[in-house]
Amino acid sequence: MITIVLADDHPIVRQGIRTLLTAEPGYQVVGESADGLAAVRLVEQLQPAVLVVDLMMPGINGLEVTRRVCALPSPPQVIMLSMHADEVYVLDALRNGAAAYVLKENDTAQLISAVRAVVSGQRYLSPPLSERAIDSYMRQSHATPLDAFDLLTMREREVLQLVAAGRTSPEIAAHLNISPRTAETHRANLMRKLGLHSQAELVRYAVQRELTPPSVD
C-alpha cells in the first residue's frame, strides 16, 4: 500500500486528484491539506510515502514545503504540481528535493506515471520538460565572466584611455571636443563603475588591462 498526502489550496483540484489516485489499486490518500504549513505538519505526523504538493499555495509555497519535508528524518517522495513550465521552477523544485515535477495543464494521467516513477526511485518530469532543457537552463543561469569595463559607455572608454595616458581634464575635453566639466563627469562615472577611488588606482587598472594610450595628437 502506497500512502499519499495531498496539499493543494483549490478544493476542486484536490478532489479531482484524490479521485484519480484512489482509483488506482494499492494507492491510499491518508491526508489532505489546503496550505503549506499544515502540509508539513501532516507529513511529519503521517510519514507518507509520497507528498503531492502544489507549487502555488498561501502561507509557504510548494518549493518551501518541499525543502522542509525533505529535511525530515524519513522524508516522503515529493511530486510538485505546477502551472509553470519554466525551467527555473523545475530546477528550484529539484534542488529543494522534489522527485517529480508535473504540469497541471497536462493530462492528469501523468500524475499516476509520476507516482509510479518516484516510488520506484526514479525522477519524473512532465513532457515537454526534460533533463536536457534543465541542464541548458543551468548553464544559462551560471554567471558569465564579465567585468565592469564591458559596461563602460564608448565615451567613458575613450576618457579612460586618455586619463591612463596622463591627460588632464581640459586636455581630454579639447581632444574629444567636449567641455571640461563633461570630461570631469565622465571620469567620475567611469571610476565609480570600475570601483576605483584614485588616479593611482585608475592608472594601475589601465596598465593591468593593457589599455594602450591611443594617439591623441
Binding site: 527555473v88 521552477y89 495543464e105 537552463y137 554567471a143 565592469a148 559596461l151 567641455s179 570601483g195
Partner: protein
C-alpha cells in the same frame, strides 16, 4: 344798474387797497423785527467792543498786559482759544504775544506752545498775513486743516480739537502786523459771521493799540538813548582837556567847559549871555573875526594859532591852536559857533612826547617783527631797515625798486606792482596793503605782507606822490596755518559729501535688495538688477554674465544701458584672460581703478575702456553655495579709488544678486519639478487606462471567445450519445488547454510572477527566451553577481529597462543579435543593452513616438537615484547603460 355795479367795483378797489396796505404793514413789521434783531446783535457787539475798548484803555501802552487782557477777554466772552501773534521786526517770524484759553487745563498747554516761534510762511496764518484778509472756517474740515497746522500745535489739536476757527489780520496803516486767532474746541457751535465781524473789529482796535504801544515803546527807547547821549556828551564836555565853548548867533557865550574857563582864568558860570569882548578884552579881538567868518560862511576853520595873554598868564603870552565849527539847529541853519582851544605853548614837551611815541612805535614794530621801508618815488630807490632786508632777502639798505621786484615770486609780481601803483596814485586814499611771496637767494619762499602809505607833495603844478613808506611782515607761518585750515575745511566738506553720497547709495541698495527679494523669476531678477544697478552703485554701465548650462562659457544675459551693438554678444570662455572670466573662476572681485591699471592687469582690455567711455571697472563674482555662477561687471565714468567701504558695499550687492538669481533658479526648478510631476501623474493615468483597455480587449476578444467556444462544445457533448461524446470532449479539452496558455501569457506580459518568486535572473532568462521566440533575435546575456537578491524595486526597474531596450531593438535596430550585460557589485547594479544596428538621432527620438519608452526608462531609473545613458548615432548602433545604486534605498 350801473351805480350798484360802480359801488361794488369801488368796494373791491377799497378792499384791494386795504390788502395792499396790510401787506405793506406786515412787511414793515417783519423788517422792523429784523431790524430789532440786528439792533440787538449790534448792541451786544457794541457792548463787547465797548468792554474790549475799556480793557484796552486800561492796558494802555503795556503790550504784554494788553495781550493778556485782550486774548483773555475774547477767550472767555466768545470762547475757547484766543491767540494774538505779532510779526517780528524783520518780518520773518510770528511771535505769540499771548494765547488765552477759557479752560484752565488747556491754558498750560497753549502757554508752552507760545514759546515756539513760528515762521510767517507756514500754517493757516500764512494766507491771512499774505492777503490781509480773515480766514473764516466755521466748520473745520479736519484732515485738510490738520495737514496745514504747524507741528507744535498738533498736541493741542489732538487733545482739544478745533471745530471752528477765525483768524483775522491785525492791520495798521494798510500793513499786516500780526494775527488774532480764535478757535472753538471740539463740540462747540460754529462761529457766526457776527463773530467774524466782531473779531475783526477787535483786531482793528487791537492793531491800533498795539501800534500805539509799539510807538510808545520806540519813543521811550529813543528818549532813553537821547538822554544817555546827552549825559555822555556832558561828561566829555566837562572832562576833556581841551577848551570848548559854544556861542550863539549874537556871539554871546552859551556854555563853556572847565578847561576853557581855566585857560581864561574865569569861573565857568560867568560866561553864559556874555560876549568874548566883555570877558576877555585882550584875546577877544584875536579870535572874534573867525567866529564871525564861521557864522557867515557856515564852514569850519581848523587849526588857527592865536597868541595872547589871559587872566591866568597875565605876563606871559601863550599860544593856542584853535578851531571853529558852525553849530546847526533845525533846518540846518547855523545858530551858533563852537570853539576849540588847545594850548600848544608846550611844543617842545609835545615833541618830546612825540619822540617817546616814536620809540614806542619802534618797540611795537620789533614786537610784531615788522620791518620798515621808504620808497622815494622820484629817485626810485627803496630804503629798508634791517628786518625789511631780512624779509626781502637783501643785504643792502637801499636798492632800486626793480631789485625788490626781482625778489618777488613771479606769480605775485602783478600784485606787487598793483600795490606800488596804488600807493603812487595821488587820487587814492594813499594807503595800500598786499600779501605776496618773496624768493630768497637760498630758494626759501616766504610770504610777506606790506602796509604802505604814500606822501604827496604840492609842487605848484598839482599834487604828486613823492614818497611812500610802510612796513613789511613775514606771514609765512600764518599762511601755512591758513592753508592747513583751508585744507582741513575742504577735507571736512569732502568727507561730509562722501557721507551723504554713501547714505544715498545705501538707500538705493536697500531699495534694490528689497526688489530683488520680492522677485521670483530669473527674468524679473535680471530686469531689476539691470534697472537699478547703475543708480545703486553710481556706475555708468553694468553687464550681467552667467555661466551657461555646461558651465564653461559666460553668457551675457543683460546689459545696461542696453547695448547698441548690432551683433548678439559673444559668450566669454571661462578660461579667457578677462576680468569677468577671472572673477568667476577665482570667485574674487577684480577692481580696476583706472585705464592704466586695467591695461597693466589685462593687456588689451584696458584699451577698450575708451571705446565704452569708461575710466574704471569692477568685476564682482556672483557666488552661491561656494560656486561661481557668474559675474556682474560695472563700468564707471570716472577713475575710482574703490575704498574698503566701497568694496564691501559692492560685494554685498553682488551677493544679493547672486542669491536672487539662485533663488530664481530654485524657483524655476520647483516649477519645473511641479509641472513634471503633473505630467507624470497624467501619464500614469494614461498608461493605466491603456493597460486596462488592453486587458479588457484581451479578456473579451480572446479569453471570452475561447470560453464561449468551450461552452458550445460541452453543450453539444451533453446532447450526444455517450459513445459519440469522446471527440467533443477532446475538443473541449484542447480548447481549455489553449485558454490556460492564453491566460498565462496575459498574466506574464503584465508582470512575470517569476520576478517575485524567483528573482531577477530567472525572470530575465524567461524574458529573453520569450523575446527570441517572438522576434527571432538572439540575446547574448552576460551577468555577474545576480545570484544574490536585490531590493524588489531595483529588480523591477532592471527588468523593465532590459525589456524596454530589447523592445526598441526589435522595433528599430534591424539586427539578429543583442547583448545584455548585468553586473552587480555591493554598491550598484550596472545594466547595459547593446546592439550594432541602425542607431538613431537621440534628440529626434526623444521628441517622437519612441520617446514615451525612453522617458519611461529614464523616469524609472531616476526614481532610484540611478543614471541612464543612451549612446547612439545613425549607423552606429545603440548602447543603453543604466546604473542603479544598491547601497541606498530611495
Amino acid at each position: 344798474m350801473p351805480s350798484r355795479s360802480l359801488s361794488v367795483s369801488a368796494k373791491t378797489v377799497r378792499i384791494s387797497v386795504l390788502e395792499k396796505r396790510i401787506a405793506t404793514l406786515e412787511a414793515a413789521l417783519a423788517t422792523q423785527s429784523q431790524a430789532a434783531a440786528d439792533l440787538r446783535r449790534s448792541e451786544a457787539r457794541l457792548a463787547v467792543l465797548a468792554d474790549a475798548s475799556h480793557c484796552f484803555a486800561a492796558a494802555s501802552t503795556d503790550l504784554a498786559r494788553l495781550s493778556r487782557t485782550m486774548t483773555g477777554y475774547v477767550a472767555h466772552r466768545i470762547g475757547d482759544l484766543c491767540a494774538l501773534r505779532l510779526i517780528s521786526l524783520d518780518g520773518t517770524t510770528l511771535i505769540t504775544a499771548h494765547t488765552a484759553h477759557a479752560h484752565p487745563e488747556a491754558q498750560a498747554l497753549v502757554s508752552a506752545i507760545d514759546q515756539i516761534p513760528q515762521r510767517v510762511d507756514v500754517g493757516h496764518t500764512r494766507q491771512v498775513i499774505r492777503d490781509g484778509k480773515p480766514l473764516y472756517m466755521p466748520c473745520v474740515a479736519q484732515d485738510s486743516f490738520r495737514a496745514a497746522v504747524p507741528p507744535q500745535f498738533l498736541p493741542y489739536l489732538d487733545r482739544f480739537g478745533v471745530d471752528s476757527i477765525i483768524i483775522v489780520p491785525l492791520r495798521e496803516r494798510g500793513q499786516v502786523i500780526g494775527t488774532l486767532t480764535l478757535t472753538r474746541n471740539t463740540g462747540g457751535a460754529p462761529y457766526t459771521p457776527d463773530d467774524l465781524a466782531m473779531l475783526q473789529d477787535l483786531a482793528d482796535r487791537a492793531a491800533l493799540v498795539v501800534a500805539y504801544a509799539q510807538l510808545v515803546g520806540a519813543w521811550r527807547e529813543a528818549t532813553r538813548i537821547k538822554d544817555d547821549t546827552f549825559a555822555l556828551l556832558n561828561t566829555i564836555f566837562a572832562s576833556i582837556p581841551v577848551g570848548l565853548g559854544v556861542l550863539d548867533a549874537d556871539l554871546r557865550y552859551i556854555r563853556v567847559n572847565q578847561t576853557l574857563a581855566a585857560i581864561d582864568g574865569l569861573p565857568a558860570i560867568v560866561y553864559p549871555g556874555r560876549t568874548p569882548a566883555e570877558l576877555l578884552s585882550g584875546l577877544a579881538s584875536a579870535f572874534e573875526p573867525f567866529l564871525r567868518q564861521v557864522l557867515t560862511t557856515g564852514n569850519a576853520i581848523h587849526d588857527v594859532e592865536i597868541r595872547g595873554v589871559t587872566l591866568t598868564n597875565p605876563g606871559e603870552p601863550r599860544t593856542w591852536l584853535t578851531s571853529y565849527y558852525p553849530v546847526r539847529g533845525n533846518l540846518h541853519v547855523v545858530t551858533g559857533v563852537g570853539v576849540v582851544m588847545v594850548d600848544i605853548t608846550e611844543r617842545t614837551q609835545a615833541e618830546r612826547v612825540l619822540r617817546e611815541r616814536d620809540e614806542q612805535l619802534r618797540l611795537a614794530y620789533d614786537a610784531a617783527q615788522l620791518g620798515t621801508w621808504r620808497y622815494d618815488i622820484v629817485t626810485g630807490i627803496i630804503q629798508l631797515d634791517a628786518r625789511a632786508q631780512l624779509h626781502y632777502g637783501l643785504k643792502s639798505d637801499a636798492v632800486p625798486a626793480a631789485r625788490i621786484l626781482a625778489q618777488v615770486h613771479e606769480d605775485d609780481r602783478t600784485v606787487w606792482w598793483q600795490t606800488v601803483s596804488a600807493t603812487a596814485d595821488s587820487g587814492g586814499d594813499g594807503r595800500a596793503m598786499a600779501e605776496y611771496r618773496v624768493v630768497h637767494p637760498d630758494g626759501d619762499v616766504r610770504w610777506i605782507a606790506t602796509h604802505a602809505r604814500v606822501y604827496v607833495a604840492d609842487t605848484g603844478a598839482g599834487c604828486h606822490p613823492v614818497l611812500s613808506s610802510g612796513t613789511s611782515q613775514d606771514i609765512t607761518t600764518r599762511k601755512q596755518v591758513e592753508d592747513q585750515v583751508r585744507a582741513a575745511l575742504a577735507a571736512e566738506q569732502q568727507a561730509r559729501a562722501a557721507a551723504e553720497q554713501a547714505t544715498l547709495r545705501i538707500g538705493r541698495l536697500q531699495t534694490m535688495t528689497a526688489a530683488l527679494a520680492a522677485a521670483l523669476t530669473r527674468d524679473d531678477v535680471v530686469r531689476i538688477i539691470l534697472d537699478q544697478i547703475c543708480q545703486a552703485t553710481g556706475a555708468m554701465s553694468g553687464t550681467l554674465l552667467l555661466r551657461d548650462a555646461r558651465g564653461d562659457l559666460l553668457e551675457i544675459v543683460g546689459q545696461t544701458p542696453p547695448s547698441v551693438v548690432q551683433n548678439p554678444p559673444r559668450p566669454t570662455p571661462l578660461d579667457a584672460p578677462l576680468p569677468s572670466a577671472q572673477a568667476t573662476r577665482t570667485q574674487t572681485a577684480i577692481w580696476i581703478e583706472s585705464v592704466a591699471v586695467g591695461e597693466a592687469q589685462f593687456p588689451g582690455f584696458g584699451r577698450q575702456f575708451n571705446d565704452h567711455g569708461i575710466s574704471a571697472y569692477a568685476a564682482l563674482p556672483l557666488v552661491t553655495a561656494g560656486m561661481g555662477i557668474g559675474v556682474l561687471s560695472l563700468g564707471f565714468a570716472t577713475t575710482q579709488t574703490f575704498s574698503a567701504d566701497d568694496r564691501v558695499l559692492l560685494l554685498a550687492l553682488a551677493q544679493q544678486c547672486a542669491q536672487a538669481i539662485d533663488h530664481a533658479r530654485l524657483y524655476a526648478e520647483v516649477q519645473e519639478a511641479h509641472s513634471r510631476l503633473q505630467y507624470l501623474s497624467h501619464r500614469l493615468l494614461e498608461t493605466q487606462e491603456q493597460e486596462r483597455r488592453h486587458l479588457a480587449r484581451e479578456l473579451h476578444d480572446e479569453v471570452g471567445q475561447a470560453l464561449t467556444g468551450l461552452r458550445l462544445s460541452l453543450e453539444l457533448a451533453s446532447r450526444l450519445q455517450p459513445e459519440a461524446r469522446a471527440d467533443r470532449l477532446a475538443e473541449a479539452h484542447r480548447a481549455t488547454q489553449d485558454l490556460i496558455t492564453q491566460v498565462r501569457a496575459l498574466s506574464l506580459d503584465l508582470r512575470p510572477a517569476m520576478l517575485d518568486d524567483m528573482g531577477l535572473l530567472p525572470a530575465l532568462l524567461w524574458q529573453i527566451n520569450r523575446y527570441r521566440e517572438q522576434t527571432g533575435i538572439t540575446v547574448d546575456l552576460r551577468h555577474w553577481g545576480l545570484e544574490k537578491h536585490m531590493p524588489p524595486t531595483v529588480e523591477t526597474v532592471a527588468y523593465r529597462v532590459v525589456q524596454e531596450a530589447l523592445t526598441n531593438i526589435a522595433r528599430y535596430a534591424q539586427v539578429p543579435t543583442a547583448i545584455v550585460s548585468l553586473l552587480a557589485s555591493p554598491e550598484q547594479l550596472l545594466i547595459q543593452v547593446r546592439d550594432v544596428g541602425l542607431g538613431f538621432v537621440l534628440e529626434e527620438a526623444l521628441s517622437s513616438a519612441r520617446s514615451s519608452g525612453l522617458t519611461g526608462m529614464q523616469e524609472r531609473v531616476a526614481l532610484l537615484n540611478g543614471t541612464l545613458n543612451i549612446e547612439t548615432a545613425p549607423g552606429m548602433g545603440t548602447c543603453v547603460t543604466a546604473e542603479l545604486p544598491l547601497d541606498a534605498e530611495p
